[in-house]
Assembly symmetry: C2
Homo-oligomer: 273 residues x 2
């Protein structure tokens, strides 16, 4: 038996999330079904982040323990030949005995995309939230700084969670305004009408249920002027979900990367493997 670290990408649109559920198409169940014939036995896949229904992944990490005699490249090819095109194994590496993708993860980076404009471009509709209001990005960034640090994020957690502690450490939370050239290859250009694509990048040691989406929903309220940047400290301190803004929709969110080292030396490189 050997332990492997899989790096995975998926288009979350047609998945009911990461985690196996009865009668639902999930990423975990799809991977486990592809692994079973290769491994010759049922295999449990442990994912670093349990993404919700509709959430995408650019580089999710999973651990598996299997006895397959295949080489890593052969195994990757066999899995990708079986898997549907909306989930791909980007890489397979050997891992140490006992490696657990979820428990051992130190830092997770998520990106949330917001399209500001009157009309939603069709090629962005699966991966960005459509907001029709003008947003003050500087105010959103000022508000985001209040989220950086070790805080009790109970106000940003949806009901139905069973997390023991609601304290998490966030080491980066910032918005970047990007233009968009109309296809899926982004460019830093702003359209004549002022429409643009924003991205929110957030890195932390863990995230509560809907935490990134509630941060985004709250920060967009700041961008619209319905909350002030200074309200973030009050919302955090309240520990009440009702004080924060709405939960932004799932389809704007992408799990960008998982780090297993203690301290990211260069956050700018986090999102690329």
């Amino acid at each position: 038996m050997r332990v492997l670290k899989l790096t995975l990408a998926y288009d979350g649109t047609d998945f009911a999330g990461w985690q196996r559920q009865a009668d639902a198409r999930t990423v975990q169940a799809t991977l486990e079904a592809a692994l079973e014939p290769v491994a010759g036995m049922p295999v449990k896949v442990v994912g670093a982040g349990r993404t919700d229904a509709g959430v995408h992944a650019a580089a999710q990490v999973a651990s598996v323990t299997i006895a397959s005699p295949l080489g890593l490249d052969e195994l990757q090819n066999a899995l990708n030949a079986t898997l549907p095109p909306d989930v791909r194994v980007l890489d397979i590496e050997p891992a140490n005995d006992g490696f657990d993708a979820r428990r051992d993860a130190r830092w997770k980076t998520y990106r949330y995309a917001v399209w500001i404009g009157r009309v939603m471009p069709p090629l962005l509709r699966r991966t960005a939230w459509h907001v029709t209001h003008r947003l003050d990005v500087a105010a959103m960034n000022a508000a985001s700084t209040a989220l950086v640090g070790t805080h009790d994020f109970a106000a940003f957690q949806s009901a139905g969670s069973n997390a023991r502690s609601t304290t998490r450490e966030v080491i980066d939370a910032s918005w970047t305004a990007r233009g968009w050239s109309g296809d899926t290859i982004g460019e830093v250009l702003t359209t004549a009408e002022g429409a643009s694509l924003l991205s929110f990048d957030v890195t932390g040691n863990g995230f509560l249920r809907h935490m990134v989406r509630t941060m985004v929903g709250t920060l967009v309220e700041v961008g619209r002027g319905r909350l002030a940047p200074s309200d973030l400290a009050r919302i955090l301190g309240s520990r009440r979900r009702s004080e924060a803004g709405p939960t932004a929709p799932a389809h704007g969110l992408t799990l960008q990367s998982i780090l297993y080292t203690d301290a990211p030396s260069n956050l700018d490189n986090c999102s690329v493997r």
Copy 2:
């Protein structure tokens, strides 16, 4: 009656192309069906570029002549409320009497996206061609320069076309290497494995059937080293389709913009409205 200029975006994945056909879902037919109740009569939509099945548009232009009393914003909202989410009206402007989006178009810009890497990222699978070979982008750019100018492009035209002349003017044809951060917001980063996203931007006064896709298929042969940059002049001169490379798949292609002025002063801005 008044003439209107519509700017349209669509995800070509689920369309059998622009042009109306019996028993097929096309962009033209979908727009005409949305316009009829608004105009109170059947409306013919003339598109600047007749994109093939699977080809996308960031800013297609169409002309219509209608008698609707609605204001332009109301008309746009009414159309977008009726249209499916894979086609959107980005803008409506008044046009001069006699304006014909197809006949009056002076310059069209297309972009073709190629993903080079072992595995196709799911979020790119609808909009980029997956090429698993390493490509020499400098050689591809050297070869592209042979396509710029006024040439007989018969060698780059698929069978079944009824174009009277096969001479076209191409004023820009170039490849750009881009990295990709894993989501649909591109960034100029290259992944550790050397995977990357290339885009081919081409502007001309018109394009023959499958001309851009045959250019791309031929230039990728150059990138793989199976043709030399100097072969392009010979292929053009042969006027024989059999001399050029394969036709690249439709889904990597996006119609980026249509210009109605004589000379684009700054090509870098062509792709953005």
